[in-house]
């Protein structure tokens, strides 16, 4: 691992490769879920072309799983699928909103385009770097490229092979995402001022997850926790002045 931690080039190509290399363990879990999705896609009646098109253009796992649930060939509920996709993926807007420093040097259209590969995992890995004072757009794109290839290849394999594939949670692979997010959360720790937003976010997310189906807990927890953090910071600043 020392080679990885010491060899941190500053060039864009080095950053791209570093992002891809550090993403390898997460990509294994992404691929495991991609295989499962591909198998389910076959059962839902998606053709190989439809799988390639959806994984290649949408590239958002959670919403693709929900789309399969609604997929009824011959009379597709187009509106319902598109709307539920938007609702499930709304959390990505909260994530790309935090990536502003990485693309500050780009014109808006290129900055917008460069967000195409943002997923929960690639965003989290990049924020982990940003928290350490590193993190570049090339790093985001490197992790994103590997994530994209892993998802596209695995979903196609699952669709083509189509045979029974074990549930990834049997091997604990579902926890790979939680463990990564948890470690990255610790990595962003800057001091006691982080405690308020984390606790408020966790409680709000737990309550929302219990009450509302879908991915709303990420949005509610993310907004409530960060608002609480900003509020606590502002109150403390006022008190320090007064």
């Amino acid at each position: 691992m020392s080679a990885i931690t010491t060899d941190r080039g500053n060039g864009a190509i080095e950053q791209f490769l570093l992002g891809a290399r550090m993403f390898v363990p997460v990509a294994i879990s992404v691929a495991a879920y991609g295989l499962v999705w591909g198998v389910l896609a076959r059962q839902a009646g998606l053709s190989v072309g439809e799988v390639a098109l959806m994984s290649g253009l949408v590239f958002a796992g959670a919403s693709q799983f929900v789309a399969l649930d609604l997929w009824t060939p011959g009379s597709l509920p187009v509106g319902a699928i598109v709307v539920s996709t938007a609702i499930i993926n709304l959390r990505l807007a909260l994530m790309t909103a935090t990536l502003r420093p990485l693309v500050a040097h780009l014109p808006p259209w290129r900055a917008g385009l460069s967000m195409g590969l943002v997923a929960d995992e690639t965003w989290a890995m990049t924020m982990g770097e940003v928290a350490k004072g590193r993190g570049t757009l090339a790093y985001l794109l490197g992790s994103g490229a590997l994530c994209y290839l892993a998802w596209l290849a695995a979903t196609l394999c699952g669709r083509l092979l189509g045979s029974a594939i074990d549930d990834p949670s049997r091997y604990g692979l579902d926890f790979a995402f939680t463990a990564t997010f948890l470690a990255l959360l610790f990595g962003t720790w800057k001091g006691k001022t982080d405690l308020t937003p984390w606790i408020v976010a966790a409680l709000a997310a737990i309550a929302t997850a219990k009450l509302v189906p879908g991915n709303w807990h990420i949005i509610v927890g993310g907004l409530a926790g960060s608002f609480a953090g900003a509020l606590a910071e502002t109150i403390k600043a006022r008190r320090d002045v007064g």
């Binding site: 959806m54 060939p73 990505l92 909103a97 502003r100 808006p108 926890f175 939680t178 937003p197 900003a230």
Partner: protein, 100 residues
């Protein structure tokens, strides 16, 4: 491929890309100092906490023990891979032991 599925997939792709680009472009228009900036600054930690907390709490004992193992592996080493391996390995073992 039917026109219907093509339209559906393109619609999914379009809204998802609009959300990805929209979050960033919206943030670009927000002030870079003051309360809103502080709010934006706290979003990463809050989103990560929101991803983790329900998964651990709703999971049960295996997930709680594995989260502790992840923390124990990460905090002294600061190594992401070690943390992930500890978490996945622990959740696998505890689920097997508990027969879950």
């Amino acid at each position: 491929m039917s026109v219907e599925s093509l339209v559906t997939i393109l619609g999914m792709a379009l809204v998802t890309f609009a959300i990805r680009a929209g979050g960033l472009l919206l943030a670009n228009r927000l002030p870079q100092t003051g309360f809103i900036a502080a709010w934006l600054r706290h979003i990463p930690g809050a989103v990560l906490a929101s991803l983790v907390a329900p998964a651990v709490i709703a999971g049960g004992p295996a997930e709680v023990i594995a989260a502790a193992a992840t923390a124990l592996a990460y905090l002294p080493t600061r190594n992401l891979f070690a943390a992930m391996a500890a978490g996945v390995g622990t959740v696998f073992l505890v689920r097997m032991l508990l027969g879950a």
